[in-house]
Symmetry: C2
Subunit: 430 residues, 2 copies
Amino acid sequence: MVYTADWIVVQDDARTVVEHGALAVADGRVADVGPAAAVLARHPGEPVSALGEAAILPGLVDAHTHVPMSAMRGLAEDKELFAWLHEDVFPREARWEPRLLRAAAELSFAEMVRTGCTAFYDMYMLQENVFAAADAAGLRGVVGENVVRFFPQLGGATRDALFGRIRDNAAAWRGHPRLRGAVAPHAVYTTDPETLHACRDLADETGWLFGMHMSETRKETADCLAERGLRPIPYCDSLGILRADTALFHCVDVDDADLAILRGRGCTAVQNPASNMKLASGAAPVQRMLDAGVPVAIGTDGPASNNAQNMLRETWLAALLGKLSTGDPTALRAQTALDMATRGGAAAIGDPLAGRLEPGCHADFFALDLRGPGMLPVHDVVSSAVYSATGLENRLTVVAGRELYRDGEWLSIDVERVRASARQLRDWAR
Amino acid sequence: MVYTADWIVVQDDARTVVEHGALAVADGRVADVGPAAAVLARHPGEPVSALGEAAILPGLVDAHTHVPMSAMRGLAEDKELFAWLHEDVFPREARWEPRLLRAAAELSFAEMVRTGCTAFYDMYMLQENVFAAADAAGLRGVVGENVVRFFPQLGGATRDALFGRIRDNAAAWRGHPRLRGAVAPHAVYTTDPETLHACRDLADETGWLFGMHMSETRKETADCLAERGLRPIPYCDSLGILRADTALFHCVDVDDADLAILRGRGCTAVQNPASNMKLASGAAPVQRMLDAGVPVAIGTDGPASNNAQNMLRETWLAALLGKLSTGDPTALRAQTALDMATRGGAAAIGDPLAGRLEPGCHADFFALDLRGPGMLPVHDVVSSAVYSATGLENRLTVVAGRELYRDGEWLSIDVERVRASARQLRDWAR
């Protein structure tokens, strides 16, 4: 199949933007990209999907989310984090049923597919449900199983039981073309050194990635200093658990020494601007991270604290927050924000074939409709995507060459079933 | 006509939210609102528009915008304000043609109507074009004519010429059911005391409102202190120009003494979160304003610096910025943000019948579709509107009882003409 559009944002190293471009797809990969006339001449007889006044961009990566928490979207707002967790979230999480958990994941995937997100890095419990929902939805992603030092928890009544489940999931999903697991210890304040070592060993054993919430608040730093004598990142580094397979979520309260460690170990930092603003945690020093050579991705933190999984909205917010927090309107440019949402996301999920549309890369992309009054005129299509789009301008989502959404139709997800299960989830959460 | 929907957010003093509600409209006003069964029983034989899984809310008010600047949306990004104005904006503004200026206003109005904005407070030049476009579009609003001390300018080659135009516009549009003018001196740093006095006198003479950019940056404060010996708000107050008819745009760098003046004079403050973040101006102390009893509205600052006129996106950002800037997640609650976008906007445009849906108020409203995965489930419809919606969920916009947009169709604006003129505007701006 060859897709043509007024604009193609390739996100290659040169940041090529093709006007009147075409993208040829074969076997789930990008086969060719460039000016439409040339690409069409090189692929005679291929079926053509002409998108017209639209911009094709690499699929966005939601590099930190908790997809089953869609059930709790909007449930309890404008509260302190601790009160929200203990009064609202934890009591409901204690009574999850796997059927509902999978339905909540499917609801999130329907939102992602709608808004041009093609890949995700999830962190939750009982993750066989998220694996199954993501497999069916056709998305790419990393499915992280949350680990804390307290048992019993939802993922297993003992650590042996939980780790057994992780091993089972690793065996069941090994070699999947789009999905991969992660061992995801929750945070420094919900684990101990022994748990963290065990998680690192399990990641190495299973070949899964490794991810953690890290340095989300100043309180986390202060508590870690008091309890462990080190800030969270040096503490984790002292345990030897930080590697190039590691994504660290939030990274709001980080100093230059922390960033030097991340750079040295090859970790990816994942900022979550909406959640960090809504919970008043602060702003990750993203421009400083980038200047220090740390790969940075963007995540929504999931629909409970966001309250969306809309990566275009999040990318816009990342740019604005980067300017506000530095006092510099030239910081965090539109192109930089888009880079984080695409190429940075690819780093977070450990997939160098994601986040760009060069030949050989995954055919993961979306197409923004540029015909709405809010998108006109187009002076710079990257600016249009980052600063003007809401996310719902998306009219086509493709993962591994498969169309998952087109013009109001979900092609891999039964959206009527999603709507019905959303009513069940609402009643369950009440 | 009676509109029914799963939710009606009335925005009366009690902040009533009606589940399974109905809203009856007659003669451009709200005739009745309440539970559907009761309203329908009181209005037998009226035609019914059943919106189903939707939320009806009072129309949003974009309380500070520059609608003709849609032509420059995305033109030059990530620049310092001064460089952007002098290199990009001013050279283009010097060559406006009235025909294009009106087309650019119409483009903005198409975006507003699409995203549930029913009223606006504009500030620009040659405003007979914006009057005409707003009249045709069916929107409610205040059309402010920009005044500076430098002549010649676009609005008139001399101040007498400009003031003559304002008087002509005041005469031409006097008594319009939806539109009103404003005399809008640009800012303290582009005017002098004599100009400001003359603007105040002209507002009093014409019965127009009075609006100014105010305290947008720390530099503005420092310069005003150096030149006038007072901060911008005390300086303007010393001239006697601040009244209850006065809207002050931005108000980022304001202290408690400034707020006491605003409170005492009955002025409305209009925050512009996206523009203030994008230009790295800072965050207006909105919670402090509200605590001080100052009415606060929300504006987009127009499509050149925003880069949208999407008031739901702006309302969401206002809530998040209010939390981040205070470090308090319980500040700027969803309800407070919605209040600013509706009731606060009514204060800014000086229209007590806007911003709420009580009987007797303007029948100005919009209807959010709640069926998209990103809006499900609905635990609290105000949270859904403020924290989850992107703006494009809107499926119906009504002003003064007239439907301006419904389900993809613009009913007062020729959207194909808008698309064609957007191409002309792009070429003009290049």
